[in-house]
Amino acid sequence: MNNYDVTVIGGGPAGLAAAIKASEAGARVLLIEREGRLGGVLKQCIHDGFGVIRFGEKLSGCEYAERFIHEIAKTDVEISLSTFASKIDNTGAGFLLHLSNKDGFSTVTSRTLVLATGCRERTARQVFIQGTRPAGIITAGAAQYFINVMGEMPGKRCVILGSGDIGLIMARRLTLEGAEVLGVYEAKPEPSGLMRNIYQCLVDFDIPLHLSHTVVRAHGRGRLTGVTVAAVDEHMQPISGTEEYIPCDTLVLSVGLIPENELAETLGVSLAKATKGAVCDQNYMTSVPGIFACGNALHVNDLVDYVSESGEKAGEKAAAYALHAAKPADQLQQPSKESACVLIEPDGGFLYSVPQKLELGSLAEDGKVQFFFRSKLTRGGTTVRMYLDDKEIFTKKYQSLRPPEMEKFEYDFSGGLPAEGQKIRLVMEEAEGNDK
C-alpha cells in the first residue's frame, strides 16, 4: 500500500495548485481526479477573462488550466486520473483512502488531505418551478459541456433563469452558435454576475435582462414547449397578474453554486452555514486536524486566480503539517497548544468572511493572513474595520461592494498577536463623506 504525505482530492484549479505547492515543499503527493483529464470545470470554460490577476493576461479557462497542468508535469506529484475516492477513514495518525478506478479497488494512506472538490450547480429541483418536468431544462454548466465539449446544441430557443456568470457566458455562447436567447430572468433586483459579463454577453447581443422576474411554470410533455415568467415582489414572490407565456424549447438555469462537501461531511468536517464550505483557519485547515480545504469547495469564488491562490496555500500548509507530523514524537509540540484559535466574527453587513478562525501557534510563525469576504447587500462607499476585542487594528475603504464580487484584503498580525480568549470582529460602516 502506498503512503503519502499529502493527498489532494480533485484536479481542478485548486487541486492542481495545492498539489504543485505541496510537492515543491518536499511532500510526497498524490492527486486524485475522477475525470479522465485534469483541469476540472476549466476544461469546458473556453471563454476568456481568466488569469488577469495572476498572469496579467486574459486567458481562456482551458488555457489557464494548461499552465498548471504543464507545471504539475514537472513535479513528482503522482496523478491518478479516472479515480474516485469512495470512502476515507480517519485513522488518527492519518487517513485511509478507498479508491476505485478501472484497475479495481485499492487503498492508500496519507498523513493529510486537501479537499479541492469544487462546487456543484443548483438544479431545477432546488428552485421552485411549477408545471411539468420535460426535457430541455438544464443547468448552465451542463449546457456549456454540451456545446463546448460534445459539440451539441442543447436547444434553439432558450430562456435563461438566473444571472450568474455561467448563465451570462452561455447566453453569448448559445447566440454565437446560432440559438436564439429570448431573455435572462433574475428574481433579485440586481444581476448576480460580474458587470463586464452583463455588458459583453448580453448588451453586445441585445439580449434583454429582466430583473425582479422569475420563471414560475414549465410547460410541455416530453420536451419543453414554453415557460411562464412573472414579476416578483421584494420578497421574491410572484406578483399575480404579471404572468407572461414565452414559447421556448430550452430553459437554462444559472441559479447558484454550492460547495461540494460530501467527503468532508463523512469525515466530520464542520461546515459553515454562510459559505456551505468547511470552517477553516488561516492555513485552510478545517475543524479536523490534517484535513485542508481550498477553492470552490471552501467557498464559491468568482475568480479562478483566487482559487489557485487558496490551493497553493492549502497545499503548502498541508505539506508543512505532514512533514512536521513525521518528526519523532519528542520534537512535536503539544497538540493542545497547537490548536488554540481565535474566532473571526463578521457583522451583519457581511454575507460571509473566510477564514473563520486564526490558529495561534502558526500565526506566531507567519502573521500574514488573507481575508476574503462578500457583502450581504450592494453598497456604496464602505469602510471595513477589523477589531481585536475593542481595539481597531485595520481599516480599508471600498468605493462600492456587491455580493457577486468577492473582496480580499491582507493583514499582518506579526506586530500584535491575538491571545487565546480574544475575539476578532469585522465591521462594515458607511464611509464618511462619500455620497457616490
Binding site: 460534445m150 459539440g151 463586464r196 468568482d302
Partner: protein, 119 residues
C-alpha cells in the same frame, strides 16, 4: 460630440465608464480606475473590438472539439464572419495550447490559437 455610458471589460473590476469625444476628437473618460479603462472607452466608442472564443472540429475521437481564441481583438462587426470561417476548419494534427490554428481570421489580421493540448 459623442457621449456614452460603458462598462469596462478589461478586468473583473467592471468599472462603469462615461466617455465623451468632443468635436475636435479629444477623448475624456471618467469612472475608470486605471489607464486601460481610458483606452477601452476610446476604442469602444469608435471601433468596438472583442476577443472571440469558440471551438473548432478535430479529427480526434477522444477530443472532437478544440477550444480556440483570437490572439487579440477583432472588430465586433466581424464576429459573424469569423464564426463561419472557424466552423469550416478541422484540425487534423495534434496541436498544443498556443499553436496557431488559423491565420488572419476573416481578414482581420488576427490569428487564432488553440487554448488546450490535444492529447
Amino acid at each position: 460630440m459623442i457621449s456614452k455610458d460603458l462598462i469596462c471589460i478589461v478586468c473583473p473590476n467592471g468599472c462603469r465608464l462615461h466617455g465623451e469625444i468632443d468635436d475636435a476628437g479629444n477623448l475624456n473618460v471618467t469612472g475608470n480606475r486605471c489607464v486601460r479603462g481610458k483606452s477601452f472607452a476610446g476604442t469602444e466608442m469608435t471601433n468596438p473590438t472583442r476577443s472571440l472564443t469558440t471551438t473548432v472540429r478535430t479529427a480526434f475521437e477522444a477530443m472532437p472539439w478544440l477550444p480556440v481564441r483570437t490572439l487579440g481583438e477583432i472588430p465586433k462587426g466581424r464576429i459573424p464572419d469569423a464564426i463561419s470561417e472557424l466552423a469550416a476548419i478541422e484540425v487534423s494534427s495534434k496541436v498544443m495550447c498556443g499553436d496557431v490554428i488559423a491565420e488572419n481570421l476573416a481578414g482581420t489580421g488576427v490569428d487564432v490559437i488553440a487554448t488546450m493540448d490535444i492529447i
